[in-house]
C-alpha cells in the first residue's frame, strides 16, 4: 500500500546530484512528500500546511546541509517536530483540593465516551480511589443502561436517577450528582454525556450548562482515531462550545494512522492524555507521543 515517508524521502534525495546545501527545489520536493504522507495519515489540511512550513524552515538549516544522509536527517526533523507537538508537557489528571474531583466527558456520537467512563473508573479504582459514574446521557436509547452495565463491570457506583431515552434533565442530574457523591464519599465523579455534533448549537449549549452546573476539574474531549479531516472543525466547535482540558484518543487498537492526534493537538493546544485501545475495560493507557509519531508516519 503506502510507501513509508522514509522510503519516499530517500527516493527524493537519491536523485540529488550535489551534496551539501539543499536547493529550494529539493526542499519543495521534500515538502510535497511530507504533505502527502501526512494527508494520507488523515492529518487535517490546515495543520499539514503549518507543519510543513515549519519543517521546511528547519530543512533549510545547517543540520540538513551538513548531514551525510539528508533524507534520514529530514525524517528525523519531521519526527522530532511531531513528537514536540504531540507531547508538549505531559499532564496528569488534576485532582480537586476538596473532593470530589469532577471529570466530564464530551465528544461526537459514538466516539467511545461511555466505554471510556468505565475504563477511567476502573483505572482510578485500581489506584485506590472511589469513583462514581454519572448517567447524564438521557438521550441515546439505553445509554443509561449501558453505563450501568459498564459500572457493574468496573465495580463502581453509578448515579442514574433518570431513566433516559428522552426522559430527564441531564443538567439537573449532573448537578445532583455532586452532592450525592459527597454524601457517599466518592472522591471522583465521572460524568458521561450524550454524543453531540459540533454544529448542534442546542446540544452544545446543554454541554456548557452541564459544565457550569458542576465546574469540572477536567473536561476531556473524546475523539475517534479514525476521524478524518473533520477533526479540526469538530475540535474547534467543542473548544468553543464547552471547552476542554485534555483529549482522549479512542479505537487506537485499529489500523487508522491517527492523524487526528496531531490535528486536535495543534488546533486546540490541549494535551492528549489517554489512549483507548479496545472494547474491554482494561484496554486503556497513557498517551505515548513517540509511538503516535511513528504511527502517523508509518516509520
Amino acid at each position: 500500500m503506502f510507501e513509508t515517508l522514509s522510503d519516499r524521502l530517500t527516493s527524493v534525495f537519491s536523485s540529488l546530484r550535489s551534496k551539501g546545501r539543499l536547493s529550494d527545489a529539493d526542499i519543495d520536493a521534500t515538502a510535497r512528500e511530507i504533505r502527502i504522507a501526512l494527508l494520507e495519515a488523515d492529518v487535517a489540511l490546515p495543520v499539514v500546511k503549518a507543519f510543513v512550513a515549519q519543517v521546511k524552515e528547519r530543512a533549510r538549516g545547517a543540520e540538513v546541509s551538513q548531514a551525510l544522509n539528508p533524507a534520514q536527517q529530514v525524517v528525523k526533523i519531521v519526527n522530532d517536530e511531531l513528537i514536540a507537538i504531540l507531547g508538549g508537557e505531559t499532564r496528569r489528571l488534576r485532582y480537586a483540593k476538596t473532593p470530589p474531583t469532577v471529570i466530564m466527558l464530551a465528544g461526537l456520537q459514538g466516539a467511545g465516551k461511555t466505554t471510556l467512563a468505565g475504563k477511567l473508573a476502573k483505572w482510578l479504582r485500581d489506584q485506590g480511589h472511589a469513583p462514581m459514574l454519572v448517567a447524564a446521557d438521557l438521550q441515546r436509547p439505553n445509554a443509561v443502561t449501558q453505563l450501568q452495565v459498564v459500572g457493574e463491570r468496573a465495580q463502581v457506583a453509578v448515579f442514574a436517577p433518570e431513566p433516559g431515552n428522552g426522559v430527564g434533565d441531564p443538567v439537573g442530574v449532573a448537578r445532583q450528582s455532586i452532592d450525592f457523591a459527597r454524601q457517599r464519599q466518592h472522591d471522583i465523579v465521572i460524568i458521561d454525556t450524550a454524543g453531540r455534533l459540533g454544529i448542534d448549537q442546542e446540544l452544545m449549549r446543554q454541554a456548557a450548562d452541564i459544565r457550569d452546573a458542576v465546574s469540572p476539574d477536567e473536561v476531556l474531549f473524546v475523539v475517534d482515531a479514525m476521524i478524518g479531516q473533520d477533526a479540526v472543525t469538530t475540535a474547534q466547535a467543542f473548544m468553543e462550545g464547552v471547552g476542554f482540558d485534555g483529549v482522549v484518543l479512542t479505537k487506537l487498537d485499529g489500523d487508522a494512522r491517527g492523524g487526528a492526534a496531531l490535528s486536535v493537538r495543534h488546533i486546540t493546544g490541549r494535551p492528549i492524555m489517554f489512549a483507548s485501545t479496545g472494547e474491554k475495560l482494561e484496554d486503556f493507557d497513557a498517551f505515548h507521543p513517540d509511538r503516535m509519531a511513528s504511527r502517523i508516519l508509518d516509520m
Binding site: D42, Q109, G110, P141, T145, G198, G228, K251
Partner: protein
C-alpha cells in the same frame, strides 16, 4: 499575470475542497490533473466554469446511474434478510432502527435480530428501537453466540411470515481477525435459513482514509452489497465513499442524517456532490 494568479487560487481551492471532504490526496490529485487537461482542451476561462466541470467529474465518479435500491423484497413466503455490519460506533443499531421504521411505514412486517451480544446494553438499545418503530426483537443471552441469535431471528421471521428480517451485529474493527471470523459465521449460519439479500456496511461520514480499509476487509468477509453513510448531518462530508464505491463496486444506498427514527434517506449523488463543493 493576474490571470495566472487567479488560476492558482482556483486550483488550490478546488484541491482543498476535495481534500477536506476526505476524498483522499491521491484521488484528489488525479481528479485535479484530469480537470486541468480538460480545461486546456476546452479553453475554459472562468472559475465558475471550472467548478462546473468539477461537479460533473465528481458526479461521474459517484455514478448516478448505479442501482441503489435496497433488496428487501420477499422470496415467496420467505422474508428478505438484511445484515448490518461495521466498525465500532458508526451507527449500525440506529440505522437498523431507522430502516425498520421506514419499512414498517411502507406497511411491511419487520423482525430485528440483536446479534450484538457483546457490547453493554446493545440488545436493550435495539429493543428500544423495536418498540419505538413497531418491530419485534429477537435477542439472546448476554455474551451468548451471536450467530445463534441471528439464526433465531431468521427463523422467527420465517415462522411469522414477516417481510424483512434485519440483523444488527456488534461493532468490530476490521483488523481483529477473530471478530471478523465470527461475523463470517453469523452470515453463514443465517444462510441455513435463507439468502442474505443485503449486507449493509455502515460507514461514519467523519471517517478518514481508514474507511477504505474497513470496506475492503468487510467486503472480503461478508461480501457487502450496500453502504449506509451515517452522521452526514454533521460537518463531515464522507468523501472516502467515492474511493470505496469505485474500488469495491458497491453503491452507497442510504444516508443517516440524525439520531431520530426518520433521519434516514436514500443516497442522493447530487446532494452529496454539492455538499463537497460547499454550495
Amino acid at each position: 499575470l493576474s490571470r495566472d494568479r487567479l488560476d492558482d487560487e482556483v486550483w488550490d481551492e478546488i484541491e482543498e475542497s476535495l481534500i477536506t471532504a476526505d476524498v483522499g490526496i491521491s484521488p484528489t490529485q488525479t481528479m485535479v490533473e484530469e480537470l486541468r487537461t480538460k480545461v486546456k482542451v476546452l479553453g475554459t476561462r472562468t472559475p465558475d466554469e471550472v467548478r462546473g466541470l468539477l461537479r460533473e467529474e465528481l458526479l461521474k465518479q459517484i455514478d448516478p446511474e448505479l442501482d441503489r435500491t435496497l433488496q428487501v423484497g420477499k422470496h415467496g413466503e420467505r422474508p428478505a434478510i438484511v445484515l448490518v455490519v461495521g466498525v465500532n460506533g458508526t451507527g449500525k443499531t440506529t440505522t437498523t432502527g431507522k430502516l425498520a421504521r421506514s419499512l414498517v411505514g411502507d406497511g411491511k412486517k419487520v423482525v430485528l435480530g440483536a446479534a450484538d451480544t457483546f457490547r453493554a446494553a446493545a440488545a436493550d438499545q435495539l429493543q428500544t428501537w423495536g418498540e419505538r418503530v413497531g418491530a419485534e426483537v429477537v435477542r439472546g443471552p448476554e455474551g451468548g453466540d451471536p450467530a445463534s441469535v441471528a439464526f433465531d431471528a431468521a427463523a422467527k421471521g420465517i415462522e411469522d411470515k414477516v417481510d424483512v428480517v434485519i440483523v444488527d451485529t456488534a461493532g468490530r474493527l476490521h483488523t481483529k481477525t477473530g471478530l471478523m471470523d465470527e461475523l463470517g459465521k453469523v452470515k453463514r449460519v443465517i444462510e441455513k435459513k435463507g439468502t442474505v439479500d443485503e449486507v449493509l456496511l455502515v460507514l461514519d461520514a467523519t471517517t478518514g482514509q481508514n474507511g477504505m480499509r474497513q470496506a475492503q476487509v468487510f467486503a472480503e468477509v461478508v461480501n457487502i452489497t450496500g453502504i449506509a453513510l451515517t452522521k452526514l448531518d454533521g460537518t463531515a462530508k464522507g468523501g472516502i465513499v467515492i474511493s470505496v464505491q469505485r474500488e469495491l463496486g458497491v453503491p452507497v444506498k442510504l444516508v443517516g442524517l440524525g439520531e431520530g427514527p426518520d433521519d434516514l434517506a436514500p443516497f442522493d449523488p447530487e446532494v452529496f456532490v454539492d455538499a463537497i463543493l460547499g454550495d
